[in-house]
Amino acid sequence: MSSVHSLLRVENASFGYSGKAILETVSLSIESGDFVGLIGANGSGKSTLLKGILKLIKPLAGEVNYDPSVLGHLGYVPQRDRLDPIYPLTAYDVVRLGIVSSRPWYTQRSTHDHQAIRQALIDVAMEPFCNHPFAELSGGQRQRVLIARALVTKPKLLILDEPTSGVDAAAEEQILVLLQNLNQDHQMTILMVSHHLKPLQKRLQKVLMVFEGAVSSIPVETLAQPTLPYV
């Protein structure tokens, strides 16, 4: 039986730009095995918090600490629309970049890498599309390829930025089922930013809400209520 411990701990941190705080005294922790939703209205500071957690911006105050086991095993799935379609990459190539990101530059490709890439694509049901141009896949398919790219690094903590935005209901359901399976069957810890609340209700174990410059933990059941401050 594995013990529950914090994979990510944010303590009294303030995040912002050019010295001006957008979020202040943020404290939160993600425990091993959690499936956490990070919600909030557009412009509430979700992206700022995510950048702070990912250490893409330095906290103006406080600390962001990862458990040592997460270092080198942090999976990140960006918003797919941020990735420029001009790059001539197949789904396979995109997943391979996950391996590239987790290795020193001088490391040679191996047959083991090839198998790991194939397996990651199988895990997200995208193996039949491995030679398709990434830019020509549907929104939901691209999202699953990006999840495979994160999976290939064997992440302890998977962080996703709005993985279901702009996809149809069927694709959204596929992505959420996939994430639920990763969490339940593979005990993967997941932090997911989203503003699609309803489909998350049955799946999340914890919800963090960003509202008016603060981050608070709210009960999962409240996702169904239309009384959330920004709904």
Partner: protein, 297 residues
Amino acid sequence: MSEFLEIFKPTFLLHNALWGSIAVGFFCPLIGVYFLLRRMVLVGLTLPQISAAGISFAFFLEGLGFSWSLHPGEAQDRFLALAGSLVFTLASIGILAYLERSGEGTTDSRLGATYATAFAAAFLLVIANPTGKIEVLNMLQGEIVSVTSHDLHILLGVYAALTLLIWLLKDQLLLVSFDREAAQVMGKKVVVWDLWLYGIIAIAISMSVLIVGPMLTFAFLIIPPLAARRFCQRMSSFFVLSCAIGGLSGFLGFYCSYLWDLPLAPTDIAVASAFLMGAVVVKLILNCRGRLLAPLA
């Protein structure tokens, strides 16, 4: 046909110029691919012009009496031109990258102003040169016709080294170009990889501008990858096809220039542009054919 065979003979007077033209045409698209993918085509226009201004500045300093360690002569002129070009290109990349990060103004306006300033500086510094070394103007147009065997060997050696470097670093350069944030999250030092890429770009542009001038360097950086991108679904094929189109443009441009006594740079650019237009037409035909056949499939 005899002219065609003649240019391949080692005794051909412009033998070095031919291989120089092909080499620049073949190599520039290799880094031009990154200009296109990173959507920094204007940087590709500006840097060669800055490189030309660097050449003028180096000779201007020499005219003011700054002495150089090498023996006077053509070799020193080449060294001087390369040093000025390299210093200006590297310094400009550093300054432009700093301004980009600090968010000062817009990228387009910065590059537009820099291009115009570099263009003016390149010529005014030659005019203001106290020794009246007007032949520097020829250098600013590229001196491919007067390329010696020694110059050609240096050019090929540097290009080969840079090609090897790009091949070794291609995965890392692709990662930080395609998904910068993910690379940072995974602990990649994206600024260090940017510096590697910019260093390669600066050396490549400095060498190329000396041989073929700023405008042809820009054309070879951008046009072949633009033509190739339409047909490639993998990075490897994108690199190979871009270089092939560039090398072929360099060769055919040289041949047409020799055959019809045309200036080399505009002829090379015209041939590369013809490849681009051909690529657009072929892609249109393929798309139409695909749409027509789709209902039958």
